[in-house]
């Protein structure tokens, strides 16, 4: 049934399986190896063999897991609406899978073992078959084990059925990734043993002395004491860093110098895919502006910029128009500045642009802790929990905190225990509202964002003070009017939670392994997801199977995305039209965060099933692992439909614990 058949042995593209990096697919080769831009591919059937093969990266030999013997995997290109068949054969000893990232496939073709299908067993061939109503730049990768880290990822382009609104003379795909010669399970074990195993950007005694001479000893000390008191580091920016990673562009390290050619004056379209396991990149081309024309595959109103921060799993299409007869560097710099990958664009093959030096390591601020808030009038607050006490009290004594006034006199603190905290938020409004945390706490939740704020108009960690333009999410506008502009009928609030010290990551304090019920949406329902980042790290959050409209003030031209970075201490919102029936994975796309439990499933339940329930599933069902998410589930539901944007309803109710 359903396109699943066992397949034993004969050669299906295995000829290339031991080819190594010299046999890169044409799209991933350098100009010096004959790549002068993508060629249009036609075809509707693709054979993909997942296996192990040797690779050579930066002059060193390694061992990859991937598709058809190349790293990255072959480019899959087809046309919008065209039915395609993809035969995936597993030549590994372990299960594998392919997830088509950002594609609106039927859910049983989405490729997540245990969620949308059983996975692909060793020796088996699984046939994916679908037609999708979309075009743009996407990618595909394994959703099994930690194979993504080992090389199991590749680009996917869907050409539009009609005319492309983006005009260009030449195009390239740039797949950014992070390669390690260490086994991914070893990386994870080291993070569990010591979460700062790969952090060589910590603050030292020397940094302290420098700060002391700049700001004065007392202030430097109290600043250190504030972080130390919370048992946190303002340099926890990336968990896995350049200490083990070689950053790659199309499988090439900086040393390997991927190079592309252009004729001066041409419009060149770069389809940039962040296929990393763990690395958020800052992307720039010194001396050359980039015009962003698509985000996550879908067209946006062209916006010119000089740099952008790119979450894992996001894609951006940019147009560059190099006019000078010179080499330009394309720089993908890891967010923690522990390394970068540099490629070259030049008028002739084989040119090598000068790699810029790494910029100084950014340091997190109180804002990243959701503490940079107007704490005016909060003297009456009393928190029983030791950690909260540290945070709030020491935080308030911090010099240099940005205290601005908010009318918080109306606050009513019913409980002294965080687990039972109840805030009457009626006197507050807007994004600055103090956060309720009615999710699970305990060893897995080291901190909670007290005052999360919107940060969509910020460029991202480390890019606040650069001397050129940086794209923000607030700049993005969909090129086409949003198809669904209904206000949300219901709101969910989901906290991104962690204990960095124990390397525990979760949603609402519940690891995926502890989830007893998925997040339920009903077909046709318009639902707002409010994501609150309680952690000190940015998380690229990905929802399978559907695009969401990111609430960035864009009205009916809000950007539609499949992945969004939620910055530390940020609260953001997106709306989902529950059109695509099925169970869809929903997770942080930082691979080891997902592996540690920062994942759930969003189930879109068809109408007419189970009595045609239109009510939020599990509204009064206390057994669910994520019962705290349904913020309107008690008495606010009807009100919510009348006033869907009113924050009070999301916040004005007590904890469950």
């Amino acid at each position: 049934m359903f396109n699943r058949r066992s397949f034993l042995g004969t050669a299906l593209g295995t000829g290339a399986a031991f080819g190594a990096a010299s046999l890169l697919p044409a799209w991933a080769r350098s100009a010096s190896h004959g790549n002068t831009g993508l060629t249009a591919l036609t075809g509707s059937e693709f054979n993909l063999d997942v296996g192990e093969f040797p690779v050579k990266i930066g002059g060193r030999h390694g061992h990859a897991v991937g598709v058809n013997g190349t790293l990255p995997a072959p480019l899959i290109r087809f046309r919008e609406g065209q039915e395609v068949t993809l035969n995936v054969t597993n030549r590994l000893k372990a299960d594998t899978s392919i997830h088509w990232h950002g594609l609106l496939v039927p859910f049983h073709m989405d490729g997540v073992p245990g969620v949308s299908f059983p996975g692909i067993k060793p020796g088996e061939t699984f046939q994916y078959k679908f037609a999708v109503p979309q075009s743009g730049t996407y990618w595909y990768h394994s959703h099994s084990g930690l194979q993504e880290q080992q090389g199991h990822y590749g680009p996917l382009i869907i050409d539009p059925a009609g005319a492309d609104p983006v005009a260009y003379d030449r195009e390239y795909v740039l797949v950014l990734s992070d390669w390690s010669f260490e086994h991914p399970h070893r990386i994870f074990a080291k993070l569990k043993a010591s979460a700062e195993s790969y952090n060589f950007n910590k603050r030292t005694v020397g940094d302290f002395l420098e700060d002391a001479s700049e700001k004065g000893f007392d202030e430097a000390l109290s600043e250190r004491a504030m972080w130390g008191g919370m048992r946190m580091s303002p340099r926890d920016i990336a968990d896995v860093t350049g200490a083990t990673y070689t950053y790659l562009i199309n499988g090439h390290s900086t040393l390997d110098n991927w190079n592309g050619v252009f004729t001066p004056g041409e419009r060149v379209r770069l389809r940039i895919i962040n296929a990393s396991a763990m690395s958020i990149f800052n992307v720039r081309m010194p001396g050359l502006p980039m015009t962003v024309v698509a985000a996550d595959g879908l067209n946006v109103e062209p916006v010119e910029t000089d740099e952008f921060q790119m979450g894992v799993a996001e894609t951006y299409d940019v147009i560059i128009e190099p006019r000078d007869d010179r080499a330009y560097a394309f720089v993908a710099e890891s967010i923690d500045r522990s390394g970068q990958a540099v490629a070259t664009f030049g008028p002739r093959p084989g040119m090598r642009a000068e790699a810029p030096t790494l910029r100084p390591v950014p340091t997190l601020t109180m804002k990243d802790m959701a503490m940079d808030h107007g704490a005016h009038g909060m003297d009456g607050m009393s928190h029983g929990s030791g950690d909260m006490k540290d945070m709030s009290h020491e935080g308030h004594e911090m010099s240099g905190m940005d205290h601005s006034a908010h009318g918080m006199d109306g606050m009513d603190h019913g409980g002294h225990d965080m687990g039972e905290m109840k805030h009457d938020m009626s006197a507050m409004s807007g994004d600055d509202a103090m956060m309720t945390h009615d999710h699970k706490t305990g060893p897995g939740v080291a901190n909670t964002a007290m005052m999360p704020v919107s940060r969509l108009d910020e460029p991202g960690i480390g890019l606040e003070d650069v001397d050129h333009r940086v794209l923000t999410y607030a700049d993005l506008r969909a090129l086409e009017r949003n198809a669904d502009t209904r206000p949300p009928e219901r709101e969910l609030q989901i906290h991104l939670t962690s204990n960095m010290h124990r390397y525990m990551w979760s949603f609402d304090g519940v690891k995926f392994s502890e989830v007893t019920e998925s997040i339920r949406l009903n077909e046709g329902e318009r639902v707002r997801f409010n994501l609150v980042n309680d952690t000190m790290m940015p998380h690229p959050i990905h929802l399978h199977g559907m695009f969401f409209e990111l609430e960035n003030g864009g009205g009916d031209h809000r950007p539609r995305k499949h992945t969004v970075i939620v910055k530390p201490g940020e609260k953001l919102a997106f709306d989902v039209s529950s059109e695509h029936i099925g169970d869809w994975a929903f997770h942080c796309h930082l691979l080891y965060h997902m592996h540690a439990g920062m994942m759930n499933v969003v189930s879109v339940i068809p109408n007419g099933e189970h009595g045609g329930m239109a009510m939020p599933a599990s509204a009064d069902d206390p057994h669910a692992g994520h019962h705290g998410m349904d913020h309107d589930s008690h008495d606010g539901h009807q009100d919510m439909q009348d006033e869907p944007h009113d924050m009070d309803h999301g916040a004005d109710h007590g904890g469950h614990h």
């Binding site: 059983p118 030292t204 130390g228 124990r502 690891k511 019920e517 099925g582």
Partner: protein, 266 residues
């Protein structure tokens, strides 16, 4: 409008309850199940169990020689191995701790103990540890152990435990460590260990109260995070009756030792 919707919701709830109680019961067992109809219940059940387990319920192992060092004083040399290992998940772990003191000149162990502890995460930064300790040297002696280990505010590593021996004697130890990064790899670690006893235990040469304090500085270089040789100095001071026992044997109640050692983990 509002009333109408309430009414509709109520009707729907009632009809749902009446129509599909069995379905709700079944669904309750599975966190999601829509793919079951397509790929079969059995195949999906297996894959679902696996995807859940592999995203959060990970068992890890860790083994560490925290202090493997030669302690050299005027008196004598001691080789110390302070080792730890654990296996388990985020919340529950089996911890093994051992401390061996070997006298190379005499070719014998001065002290040898091992602890087996159930370590349970009780807060973001602390584990409660309970279990048993057995001393092989200087004499065979079993203890019950209860302790707490974790990271205190201001980033002090703490390990404290109380020991009730089979003889009924109650003793305790508190260890505290701190790390000063001179560079990303050169780390100065102040460390102090305090031993206490509820009573005089003459056969173990321990006096009541604070019996001993060891305070030292270790300077290590992390060639890799997992592999760091070090040098250091430490002061060992016995107090009260404990000091008297040592002095009666001709030993010193206080002594400085020089350290050279290795900190390593996997």
């Amino acid at each position: 409008m509002r009333q109408l919707m309430t009414f509709r919701a109520a009707i729907l709830s009632c009809s749902a309850l009446a129509l599909v109680p069995s379905a709700i019961g079944e669904e309750g067992d599975k966190p999601w199940s829509q793919a079951d109809d397509i790929w079969g219940e059995e195949a999906m059940a297996e894959a679902r169990a696996e995807v859940l387990e592999k995203h959060g319920d990970i068992r890890s192992t860790y083994i560490q020689a925290e202090r493997f060092e030669l302690q050299s004083s005027d008196d004598e040399d001691v080789i110390l191995l302070d080792g730890n290992a654990w296996i388990g998940g985020d919340i529950n772990k089996l911890w093994i701790k051992s401390e061996l003191e070997y006298l190379p000149d005499e070719g014998e162990f001065e002290e040898a103990e091992i602890q087996a502890l159930w370590s349970r995460a009780i807060s973001p930064y602390f584990d409660l540890q309970t279990g048993v300790r057995y001393d092989f040297e200087p004499e065979g002696l079993a203890h019950l152990v209860i302790g707490a280990q974790g990271l205190a505010p201001y980033l002090f590593e703490l390990d404290s435990a109380a020991f009730l021996s089979e003889e009924g004697d109650l003793t305790a130890r508190v260890e505290a460590e701190y790390e000063l990064l001179l560079s990303q790899r050169l780390i100065l670690q102040p460390r102090a260990e305090i031993a206490l006893s509820a009573s005089d235990i003459p056969e173990r040469e321990i006096g009541a109260g604070v019996s001993q304090i060891d305070a030292g500085l270790r300077l290590r270089y992390e060639i890799k995070r997992e592999f760091a040789p070090y040098i250091g100095i430490e002061w060992h001071q016995r107090f009260g009756q404990t000091a008297d026992y040592i002095e009666a044997e001709g030993g010193e109640s206080g002594e400085a030792v020089f350290l050279i050692g290795l900190r390593a983990w996997y």
